[in-house]
Symmetry: C2
Subunit: 169 residues, 2 copies
């Protein structure tokens, strides 16, 4: 293995960290709030895996399908707003779902910039196959419905706070 001397060190951009705050003790990874979300999110994906394999979808693809089952005929940007994804993520993902025959993508005649995404009959039909998934997931969490709803609200509120903080920094 050749010894790399490139060493692209930290960019000399302005440091957004406060410089005079006394630092707290270093937290173990497991105690970081962000890490618990990171790990829990991966754990969700792993629980979904066998259920989604059965209907031939990945987890992000499933989220797009749920969004379309909820409301058909959405734009790429609309789906992106809902799921928090960029068009650079969605375009290839939607092309794969189109290749699977689950939806169609076509430019809106009224505004050629916009691509409208519509479920195919097959995409509609898949909904029935996916119907039992949410309760399987709920069971895997070990939570009752009330706790799950409470936690979902708390996490969504946290997301809002984080996005507000990220938006204006």
């Amino acid at each position: 293995m050749p010894h790399d001397t490139a060493k692209p060190t930290a960019a000399p951009t302005e440091n957004p960290l406060p410089t005079d705050v006394p630092a707290p003790a270093l937290m173990p990874v497991d105690d970081l709030l962000c890490f618990s979300f990171y790990a829990a999110s991966h754990a969700f994906t792993r629980v979904y895996k066998p259920l989604l394999d059965a209907i031939g979808l990945t987890y992000p693809q499933y989220l797009v399908m749920v969004a379309l089952w909820e409301k058909d005929d959405q734009t790429v940007g609309g789906i992106g707003d809902k799921l928090g994804l960029e068009s650079s993520t969605l375009t290839p993902l939607l092309k794969r779902l189109e290749a699977l025959g689950l939806l169609s993508r076509s430019r809106d005649p009224a505004d050629e910039r916009v691509v409208r995404v519509r479920l195919s009959d097959q995409g509609e039909a898949l909904r029935a196959q996916a119907r039992k998934i949410p309760e399987c997931i709920l069971k895997a969490t070990g939570l009752d419905l009330a706790d799950a709803v409470r936690l979902q609200k708390e996490v969504s509120a946290l997301r809002d706070a984080l996005e507000k903080a990220a938006g204006k920094s």
Copy 2:
């Protein structure tokens, strides 16, 4: 600015507590517990972005560094267990951190199968630069420390439940 033109949803069902519904089969995306985690996790990444750009790390790279700051001289598998990542994810990531001069990777003479990962002086030094990050994140969450700890514990417990469910399927 949302791109919706069609059908203002007349349904006043903003509250996702439909306990009369037999199964959470047709839940909107936003109400899925898994989605709230998925979205919150992305939101955390976005909040971290400017802070980590300043020290030249990505978010998963930062987690690896935190794990090493907590305990130096770990194996690839050990880090993977802690972070819940496969070696196929870690190997290239660790090679990038090595290329940055933050750590070294070398086979253990006592067992040539394992690779020991050790911080370099530069990697140790970076710790000081990163000390103030956790409190910046806490501030962005809008939570006080007690709430953050409580939520972290709840989410970690959920992760454990999910992993147990995924493990024996």
